[in-house]
Amino acid sequence: MSPEMPLREDLIFEQSAAGRGSPALAPASGEAPGLPPGLLRSVPAALPEVSELQVVRHYTRLSQLNYSIDTHFYPLGSCTMKYNPKVCNRLAMLPGFLGRHPLAPEADGQGVMACLYELQAMLAAVTGMQAFSLTPMAGAQGEFAGVAMIMAYHRSRGDHERREIIVPDAAHGTNPATATMCGCSVREIPTDADGDIDLPALRAAVGPQTAGIMLTNPSTLGVFERRIREVADIVHEAGGLLYYDGANLNAILGRALPGAMGFDVIHVNLHKTFSTPHGGGGPGSGAVGVGRRLEPFLPLPIVGRENGRYRWLGEAERPQSIGRLSAFMGNTGILLRAYVYMRLLGAEGMRRVADYATLNANYLMHRLREAGFRLAYPARRASHEFIVTLKDLHRETGVTAMDVAKALLDRGFHAPTTYFPLLVPECLLIEPTETESPETLDAFAEALAEIRELARSDPEQLRRAPLSTPVRRLDDVRAARQLDLAWRPAD
């Protein structure tokens, strides 16, 4: 849009007029007799008073300010921003599913329970685990469930001293944060120059205090941990268990089973590998799978089947469970989307996911290497993602990974993940996913190459990017210092 017409939209509050509103949307009467007056609200809440058209126009326009999969290439590393098939959404929102109260009789939910039961089994099959619980509502809650199960297992064996969780230095922030939430201490271990775990350091780290280790494989460095069986042996021999952070499962779906690698427990981000939408921040699902040892500890509820009827298994059937993680059973609607996705792809289609996610990543890595970019792990195959480090470019030109990210926005691409993993300086973690065409990858590589040229010829221009977005670079320091977290009516 033109400079005169910034793509800016007033707050919905600023469009409000007292007495406006959409009366067709609520029951006619507002009487609530019989409630004690002292407990009632005295002044109506300062919500906007706007017409339905104003609401539609406002949120339609706001939506247009976003980059999204449906509008842009979105190679955000570690996030698996692949296409979310529309049909999954449509079928998960069929009235029978959507209108059902979670505490309605089980006879009234056999349809949804059949889907969930089969989903449990399919997830076990694609991960090589024994049993699944679908209740965790995101990856981090899956991690919580996993570590809590590890702790419950040790406790059940009287092993109360195991309260330390090992994580690689490259681990996602949720891993250490989860360990803390579970009451564990965290020990970080280093990664070697090729991105593999430093085995001597691991050997030195394990001991009677070791509860377990949390790993992703391929790791957040975008490479496959080649000595995973040795890692497993070291940890198991020390009496610890292995947790698999399934955020990167897209890389190996059908090519390798975490269960076979020696993992005892895994969470799967259905909103990544199984393509449920990210929704601008959620909801997701972090279903957890376990080997036989941990099965008694799975979080509840779980769908069981008896005589052709499905039913919820709860505390009575699973007295050793770590308990419940949600008021009902987690993000059912998301589970249904993942279920439909898995049925559409089937075994064959799912195997192709890893194949083409990996092909796309390696191809794009190759293109960028050719264009002169420096790779963080040049000797390694990319998994479904890979890391470019702009350390040299930064030294030479002062241009940062942030500058490059913003310049990509101006060129119609969402930026890759920046500054994660923390151990690679000025990094871009790039994950194209299997649903993007080679043409898109080529265009993205060309944009990055052009930006790299510009960094040398006119770095100032990059520091001013982005220019074409609804706002330009924002003052984060001011945001944190002069907190403005909510609109308030003028007095």
Binding site: S22, G38, P44, A256, A354
Partner: protein
């Protein structure tokens, strides 16, 4: 190939560029012993039409009963515009708004959401959502303990009228950190004021109440709030946000108001959906903001001085603070917040107030109608939009009889509140007509008359 755009020529060209002969070679770093080929136990793929037939037949089995269940999730009417807008691809298929310039839509919406939740609860700061009401309560407990870190207080007083499942979930979540929830007993379905410990000061981090309570009753929130303040306890309020269109907001309870409020956002435009996704909200006083879990959006300006929105106070979060973060939460329930924000905009304070009032009035009508039957009595009054009905015979059998008649009549309170005897918790939202209530009453009369139940 489903959702994979590569033609055979594309694949060949790309492999050639990389210098490989086959896709298999891409995986040559995986030790041979670990390589798998396909999956046992996963059926072959189906086309979209077949998937539609399958899911339609599954959905046709579900959700046919007439709903009088509440207990934390409520059957409200959702205006069509809510999901038409929330399901737009630009909201639906975006990630967490890390790149602020490319995510102003989501960011401004979250800022508006935070503003609305503050307005509804009378508090100053809100985060961008938690998983659900139960986990929001757990996070509120953790937050209260963190705020008391120096005092070392790790016990929280919790009313027995606070949702039993919320208490269970919170216990699962706080257990590892050696935090204890201490239950306070009830009298007449509400917290018994005489049972408040005289020596609470210095012993507990917080007092947690639910208003309206799980049992539908109304706590004397002003008095309890003042008591907590006097004892130096934080007050955690668990509230149905829709009820706050009618009831006093927690920010105004007593002299000082609650310190943290939280709860289930589902009543604000989120479909029942067999249990989720819903979203948890959490709001607090500004002084507690650095203990807040989860994402928060702030308004700031860009380099040209134009207003814009960005994630802020990220130093609380796992991706920055790692093991010292306020919570491990990363992905939250963003899309549900999108829907709730649109819902609140459409209804406004007046629409919410009318909806809440209609729920109350309908439940009052339902209760009166059912209590007219022999063997049914209303346990507690006043109630908001849920009512405990005590029965003269086993609740499970009565509920089963009603279920056979197509009525989801409520929740059996036997497990959680055995002291009530046979009792169920029922709810009639604004969606239930007088005719629906009559259907329930007639079916209940029939069940009570029949020999099905002792």
């Amino acid at each position: 190939m489903p959702y994979i755009p590569h033609t055979p020529e594309d694949t060949a060209r790309m492999l050639a560029a990389i210098g490989l002969d086959s896709i298999d070679e891409l995986f040559d770093e995986i030790p041979p012993a670990l390589r798998a080929e396909g999956f046992a136990g996963v059926p072959a793929g189906i086309d979209e039409a077949a998937a539609a037939r399958l899911m339609q037949s599954r959905a046709a089995q579900d959700g046919r009963s007439l709903c009088f269940v509440g207990a934390g999730a409520y059957d409200h009417y959702i205006p069509a515009a809510v999901w038409d807008l929330a399901a737009r691809g630009e909201f639906y298929s975006a990630y967490t708004p890390y790149q602020a310039e490319a995510s102003q839509g989501t960011l401004q919406l979250i800022y508006e959401y935070q503003s609305m939740m503050c307005a509804l609860t009378g508090m100053e700061v809100s985060n961008a959502s938690l998983y659900d009401g139960a986990t929001a309560f757990a996070e509120a407990c953790l937050m209260a303990v963190r705020a008391n870190r120096r005092a070392g207080r790790r016990r929280i007083l919790v009313s027995r009228a606070l949702s039993p499942v919320y208490r269970r979930v919170a216990e699962t979540i706080v257990a590892g950190q050696d935090i204890e929830l201490v239950e306070l007993p009830l009298r007449d379905g509400r917290l018994d004021p005489d049972a408040l410990p005289a020596d609470a000061a210095g012993q507990y981090a917080a007092l947690a109440l639910q208003q309206p309570s799980y049992l539908g009753t109304l706590e004397d929130v002003d008095r309890l709030s003042d008591w907590a303040a006097a004892q130096g306890l934080l007050l955690i309020a668990v509230c149905n946000p829709l009820s706050l269109a009618v009831l006093k907001p927690p920010g105004e309870w007593g002299e000082a108001g609650a310190d943290i409020a939280c709860g289930e956002g589902q009543p604000l435009g989120i479909p029942l959906s067999s249990g989720g996704p819903y979203f948890g909200y959490i709001v607090s006083r500004e002084r507690l903001v650095r203990q807040m879990p989860g994402r928060i959006v702030g308004r700031t300006v860009d380099v040209d001085g134009r207003p814009g929105f960005t994630l802020t106070l990220q130093a609380r979060e796992q991706h920055i603070r790692r093991s010292k973060a306020t919570s491990n939460i990363c992905t939250n329930q963003g899309l549900m917040v999108t829907a709730a924000t649109i819902y609140m905009s459409l209804l406004g304070a007046e629409g919410l107030q009318r909806t809440a009032a209609a729920c109350h009035a309908n439940t009052a009508r339902l209760a009166a109608r059912l209590a007219a039957l022999d063997g049914v009595r209303i346990a507690f009054e006043p109630f908001f939009h849920e009512v405990v009905l005590q029965l003269d015979r086993p609740a499970a059998a009565v509920l089963a009889g009603l279920a056979e008649r197509g009525i989801a009549a409520g929740v059996d309170l036997g497990d959680s509140y055995p002291e009530l005897g046979p009792a169920i918790l029922s709810c009639a939202t604004e969606q239930r007509s007088d005719a629906d209530i009559e259907v329930y009453a007639a079916a209940l009369a029939e069940v009570l008359d029949s020999s099905e139940v002792a």
